[in-house]
Amino acid sequence: MDRVKAVWASVRPRTRRGGILAVVAIIGSAAALSVALFVGGAMAWTPYVTFDLDQGTNARAWAAFEPSFAGSASCAACHAPAAIAVKAAPHVGVACESCHSALAGHVAEARQSPKIALAPLKAPTNEACIHCHVDTTGRPAGFPTIDIYQHFKPVCLDCHDPHTAQAKRPPEVLHPRADLPACITCHGPDGFKARNQRHPVEATNDAACLECHAKGRGPQRVENR
């Protein structure tokens, strides 16, 4: 007891101001300490008090997340024609959301108010097509790929309809264009716009074509060559 008194005598505040400061400091640090302990303890304990140590609780928590991808079945519920068309196309088996991106929000919106017209989906860009169909080491043999340096480069969907097997009619390509590929890209044996069968097969360079088809010479004039 004497020892305690001696300690107190040596540390007790000597002035009124010192006393007030000491009280404030003690209360302040006690408050800070309890807040720290409370917060820290709560953070450490929460998993264990809110969690009954049954792993099923956590499994149910994982199961409770909401999907972002709705699945093609949800699409077919409204978009029957397109879905049916895909079944017949080379893209059979490709999920709608592979190209049209995650649509769970769209589906939820549609279920909520079926009669309101929703914002039209963004059409896939060239990049979406090229992503799969560009020639790359590792792709299985037989998978349709293109060499992007050789392939004609308008918008893919101008010529190809991803939903049906049938290719669209090629659009009117205005030949006065600066970036046309080699003539045989389209007009060769594998091109979609056949040339006259009387043309010599070995004529594979543009100069040979332009012998006749340059401006002012023959039919199907190519303006810019």
């Binding site: 998993p47 099923g56 499994a59 994982w62 999920a95 560009v134 080491t137 792709r139 299985p140």
Partner: protein, 352 residues
């Protein structure tokens, strides 16, 4: 000192088990795990005849070790060793204690399978989903994968996984075998942007490609999963349907499961806006989209795969059964003995 054979242990313990130093034997019992004591006891009886031989063999080995090193001989510097006759046995006891401890730890490591694989508790996940009745299986067809990377992107979007390539639940590797017989593996950006025309692996540039294929990776949901066994706080566990999950509120972020996984399927969630369970710094891995399969949907990567390279279903589904019968898929790296539940068909198995 390699792993001591029972014979060696027996020899040493037989030596120290002489009556006047029975305490040393006690010491080893205290130090070592119980099962070691059993080993020592049993073999001590068996090995009794060789005691004399091993005594002479063991003691000089310990004592003369420093001699060739030019040290002061023990006998000269510390007569105490001769004076207190206990000391020599004490030295032996020291060796025995160390040996015992090592045998104990080794046996502990061997015992681990006994503890492991407690039957997963059955708990209903939802009204329509009883995990104990499901036998999910995942088949990856590497013959049809085109490496488009849509699965990686879809996984990140579906599960709120970080956009960074290093932190990913699923990724695609491209295996390229060149004409000179070397195999190169690359996975630029985890495959999420697709793959450039030629392999990006160092040294692969310019070489003629003989064979190549894409190999999607994800958590194998092993039946003998090392990750669940090594977790010190039981934060990762296997559900009744075989999916291994991580409780983000229990995980301490030690990284042990990550170094324990032979398939590299785990990562620690980085700080940032995206985290699957809403917590950074904890282990995360593919859950086979547990929220989707418990609702009757397919995992996002399976849903999105344009070429059907990822197939998911139950054993008993006609298409899955047909696929398994037709393609004979096998797990990757069966040599790790973890019994993966993701099966691979195509070149990933044929080329291995």
């Amino acid at each position: 000192m390699t792993e001591p054979t029972p014979q060696e242990v027996a020899d040493e313990s037989a030596v120290v088990a002489a009556p006047e130093v029975a305490v040393v034997a006690d010491e080893s019992t205290v130090v070592a795990a119980p099962e070691v004591a059993v080993v020592a006891d049993e073999s001590a009886v068996v090995a009794a005849p060789v005691v004399a031989a091993t005594t002479t063999a063991t003691v000089p080995a310990v004592e003369t070790a420093p001699d060739p090193a030019g040290l002061i001989p023990l006998s000269e510097l510390a007569p105490a060793i001769q004076a207190a006759s206990v000391s020599r046995r004490a030295f032996l006891g020291f060796g025995l204690a160390i040996t015992g401890g090592m045998v104990g730890a080794t046996s502990l490591a061997k015992l681990i399978p006994l503890f492991e694989d407690e039957s997963p508790a059955a708990y209903p996940i939802s009204k329509t989903y009883d995990p104990s009745t499901r036998r999910w299986t995942f088949v990856v067809d590497t013959a049809s994968c085109i490496g488009c990377g849509m699965c990686v992107v879809a996984c990140k979007e579906e599960n709120n996984v970080s956009e960074e390539a290093a932190y990913t639940r699923t990724w695609i590797e491209r295996h390229v075998r060149t004409a000179d017989g070397e195999t190169y593996v690359d996975s630029p950006n985890a495959g999420m942007d697709g793959f450039p025309a030629d392999s990006t692996a160092p040294g692969a540039a310019g070489k003629a490609v003989e064979a190549s294929f894409f190999e999607p990776h994800l958590c194998m949901q092993c039946s003998d999963s090392p990750c669940t066994g090594v977790c010190p706080v039981g934060a990762t566990y296997r559900t009744a349907d075989g999916v291994i999950l991580v409780d983000a509120r229990r995980c301490i972020g030690c990284g042990y499961c990550i170094v324990a996984c032979p398939y590299g399927a785990r990562y620690l969630v980085p700080a940032g806006p995206d985290s699957p369970a809403g917590v950074a710094g904890v282990a995360d891995k593919c859950t086979w989209c547990y929220h989707r399969i418990t609702r009757g949907l397919k995992p996002a990567c399976v849903e999105i795969c344009p070429v059907g390279a990822r197939r998911f279903g139950e054993i008993g589904d006609p298409d899955i059964d047909a696929l398994i019968a037709d393609r004979q898929p096998e797990p990757l790296h069966p040599e790790y003995g973890t019994r993966p539940r993701v099966l691979y068909a195509g070149p990933a198995i044929e080329e291995a």
